[in-house]
């Protein structure tokens, strides 16, 4: 069902909004580190939520190449697509 990238993006943004609080605009180009200040503890929470929401396992080595919301959404989408 979640093969659609846009749907992944939408759900991801929803989680990010809850994590960083109101008043921050989140777009695919938003930088997770610089603009959303996702530190290591917030990242753990985020991964847990992503794994629960999308029922996937996010490999830690793939995160080393993720910096923007779009890159994270693509990663989730890719894992999800390959698992189906």
């Amino acid at each position: 069902m979640l093969n659609d990238y846009n749907e992944v993006l939408q759900k991801l943004c929803h989680h990010l909004e809850q994590l960083v609080g109101p008043g921050v605009e989140i777009t695919p180009q938003t930088d997770l580190i610089n603009e959303l200040a996702i530190d290591s503890v917030k990242l753990l929470n985020l991964i847990m939520e992503i794994e629960d929401e999308f029922d996937i396992s996010v490999p830690i080595n793939a995160l080393a190449d993720v910096q923007t919301v779009h890159e994270l959404a693509s990663l989730i989408h890719r894992i999800k697509a390959q698992e189906q």
Binding site: D31, L32, I33, N34, A37, I38, D39, S40, V41, L43, L44, I47, M48, E51, I56, S57, V58, P59, I60, N61, L63, A64, D65, V66, Q67, R78, I79, Q82, E83, Q84
Partner: protein, 620 residues
Amino acid sequence: MTSTINLEGKTLSSTIAKLNAPLTQAFNPQLLSSEQPAAAIPTPTYNTQAQRLADFDTLIAALEYAASGTSGYNFYDAKGNLRSVLSYRALRQNAQAAARQLLGLGLARGDRVAIIADTTPEFVEIFYACRYAGLVPYAMPVPVNLGSHAVYVRQLRGMLEAGQASAALANVDYVGFLKEAAEESRDLRWVGTPEQLRELPALNTELAANSPDEIAYLQFTSGSTRMPRGVVITEGALMSNLQGIVRHGLNIRAGDRCASWLPFYHDMGLVGMVMAPMVAQVSVDYLATRDFAIRPLQWLRLISRNRATVAFSQPFGLKLCTLRVRDSDLEDLDLSSWRAAGVGAEMIRPDTLRSFAEKFAPAGFDARAFLPCYGLAESTLAVTFSQGGQGFQSLRVDAATLVDKKVAVRLQVEGRKYSEFVNCGRALPGHTVKVVDEAGGQLPDLRVGSVLVQGSSIMTGYFNNPEDTCKTLKPGNWLDTGDLGFLFEGDLYITGRRTDVIIVNGRNIRAQDIEELAEQQPEVRTREASAFGITDANDVTTIVLVIECRLTSVTDRQSLTSRLQRLVYMAFGVNCLVELVPPHTLPRTSSGKLSRFAARQGFIQRTQMTDQLSAESGDK
């Protein structure tokens, strides 16, 4: 299934490779179905052999003995399923086979082998294989931060160089990073995965015994990207420390079982929860650090389900459990078997332990299980242990006297502002702890100073780094721990770190590394950046980076600030506060060196922040 595992090496390795599905399984649809292969039974708690408590000359001698019993290592996945079983018997067999393959690469005795240490059976096999082959292994970390690719590769490169590795291994998830890091290396003769090593021809040779005075392994100590330091530990030092841990510290006995999420690339994970259980023939259940960090409950479930008795954590790990485990989860937990809840590796705050005990008391956790201890990689692992079975003891001292006079005065009247410190216990047999002032003179009880250790577990030095070795190992082979504390009635209390190390979320970050990152920016001059940690009342540490800055345009200043924050994040995985100040704001010592201590005081004054960390002294 466990019976086939004890058969010959080849079947075993492939079984384990399959069972221990690496992280790439996320990309493999077949492995992720609900019918994941699972190992049937973990190694038993009660062994068939007589227990020997680390009375061996070398690590391999200990493994040879453990291999005649039934205990071993067990690896669990994020969902709590048993994914692979590596009995000590199977470990011996696989490690010997891999040792001959390592020797087949043409490596000579004493050559270093670098291994990226994910929580897998393969890491453990290669580590022991190195010792069978007379090679010196060292563990390297896995990447943990978002967008850290380039920084991680640099970090690996630094470690490969500092340890002058001749061979390097990583599992399939990390070997790409490793190969990138190895590109310019002159010393490396081989880089690959454990599976690739298995394909190589074995050298058909007798494996020579090790001697107590040869190097057992190197332990890298900081997350520093530039100039990482490899602690050199001999077999003799290792066995001495392991004996102290299992006999004196933990009083290991029949019926003990360990559960651990600690990374294999940290001394507490590797020495404390890989080697120490093996030299006492105790079974261990592992959860990968990543899986613990995301779902700390799984560690507690493992303890509960397998009736573990010994499990260690940094205070930060206990805090994660307290914060993240839901009350509804408590019903299914029974932590009453947990008799030794070791706590160490960073400053222990009494409140962290109290909150944990309060939260998990309904699940049967007994606060008397808390076992505070103190140690560092430069002393193999452990230096002091508190008395087992008594819970943690602490001392409340007058906060003002502590700061002004560096004296711990026990609180006489209620209502005064106090600092509370946890009793870390006494030195292991064969070790002495003393506290000295800045001139090196020994201080009496309750006087705060530098903590020095002497004894049989001390490192021989930092690998290929006489300068740092000389700074750390004082005359008489006294190890300067870099920590501050005081002694009281023979027990050690740690009050803080010197300002050159900042601990954030359980990780040690060297202030110098952050300052160097800043100084690499064109706008920042050498000696115009100062980094330090600020800990607030909720025990949250923030890194502050103060920069003397000549930029006037708002855009330029903004650009520098956000670039610095990004660089610090990518290198260390933490956010930092950047403050730009006019030139000549940062206080300097008479020799022109920046004083981080004074810079920190200045920052606190400017921002009116109150800082509860009170007993840190200035730089030397």
